[in-house]
Symmetry: C2
Subunit: 257 residues, 2 copies
């Protein structure tokens, strides 16, 4: 199985761009937890974000979507390109080598293959409800799983920096654009959306101030319904105003928590 | 001269990464004008931003600095990476071809050279006082000159989109980071910094509100000196607080005009 995948890749090796690849930082949110999807190559003790090569027939955005679909089974994810990474030292001493792939596949992988050259990586992040994801491990990976954003395993290449940069971009983004739509139920309470923002921003937000600013954007609408969450607690339900939300995604909103 | 440059490039063609390049959008500000530095390849009627290939021994940031220095003679420019661009259609029908380079150089440039493949381009922008720049035209260019941001010539490739994206990023950036330092004299008046922001943002800003927000950041200090700009007009001079400015560059300030 592994041999087949490697063989297939080298057979179609002319289909890919050299020296440039895509890395996807897949963030997952679920009930006050923010995680990131990582994979561990066989027989190496470090982890990587999900990523891959760019086909000559596709755009970098199409590559990001294809590669994320392969691991999550999800299409229509919200994607944001946040930065590209390129230094000659990126993959030096990573353990990713011809010897490693040869041992793994049982076929001779040439040491001068273009896959061991210096790659510039275009970084994308995406944010999804992680309970929706059915993880599909790659054949060259020993594992593919969610890790808490505050408790990452040892990372290969510069992937620790890539995750840090993606998180910074996500936090800047969420202060200017409404990107919570896919992460909440259609109807949600103020405490639920408050938790979402606190979890992603990694800090507590003053309750009254948060609510005031969020309502000022006009992107959420109060419903004439409540949700019973305790003997004496039944907060009102809200939903996103789809038009205002779409407008906010285009032009930005001023949350600036 | 042209032949020599092309010859030299192909001789050292192994020194460069394939399929990935750098484009620099060099913005220039001078007295209420915002311009962009463009170049026109010989015998083509369209223009490009300045850009080039990445050497195998340098990072993408080092490539951006080297390429900008070659055209402007300036080092220590403020650089910001804003986005990468990659679609298979980017350079189709651009006029940039083996036939064109062969005619130009008098030497046979192979049609299957890697330089005609699909390139992902990493976009950087920089902002400088354009009166400081001594333009150095490349040997393959018929012209290299400043163009007003609102009156661009026909552009090659997707460079019109690249400039638009760079301008959008610059405008977002200037609302969150103090990046006016190099564009003003050491001591400046409030009308001068007001004009700078209006010119870059491409819109008028309420005078009182602008001043209030700018002073609230603490990044400028009022001096006990005035500048005589008319018979009855002597506005106070200001300067940047270097520490607060450096801190603002790191952590951001909230201008949000």
């Amino acid at each position: 199985m592994i041999q087949e995948e490697v063989l297939d890749f080298f057979k179609n090796s002319d289909s890919y761009l050299h020296n440039v690849s895509v890395d996807n930082v897949i963030f997952g949110y679920h009930e006050k937890e923010l995680k990131v999807l990582l994979q561990q190559p066989f027989s190496l003790d470090k982890w990587t974000v999900t990523g891959g090569y760019i086909m000559k027939t596709e755009s970098i955005e199409e590559a990001a979507v294809r590669i994320a679909f392969a691991r999550t089974g999800l299409r229509d994810l919200f994607f944001e390109q946040f930065r590209s990474f390129g230094t000659p030292q990126r993959s030096v001493d990573s353990g990713f080598s011809a010897a490693h792939l040869t041992a793994l596949s049982g076929m001779e992988v040439p040491a001068n293959s273009w896959i061991f050259e210096y790659f510039v990586s275009v970084g994308f992040y995406t944010l999804t409800e992680f309970s929706k994801v059915e993880i599909r491990k790659g054949d060259l990976e020993a594992a593919c799983q969610w890790w808490p954003i505050n408790d990452l395993p040892p990372m290969m290449f510069d992937h620790k920096d890539i995750i840090a940069a993606a998180l910074k971009a996500l936090r800047l983004h969420i202060a200017h654009y409404p990107i919570g739509y896919e992460l909440l139920s259609e109807k949600f309470t103020l405490p639920e959306i408050h938790s979402l923002y606190e979890t992603i921003l990694g800090k507590s937000l003053d309750d009254r101030n948060f609510t005031k600013r969020l309502l000022a954007t006009g992107i959420i609408i109060k419903l004439n319904e409540t949700k019973k969450i305790g003997a004496h607690r039944s907060p009102f339900l809200y939903k996103f105003d789809k038009e205002k939300y779409a407008e906010g995604l285009k032009s930005g909103v001023e949350l600036a928590f």
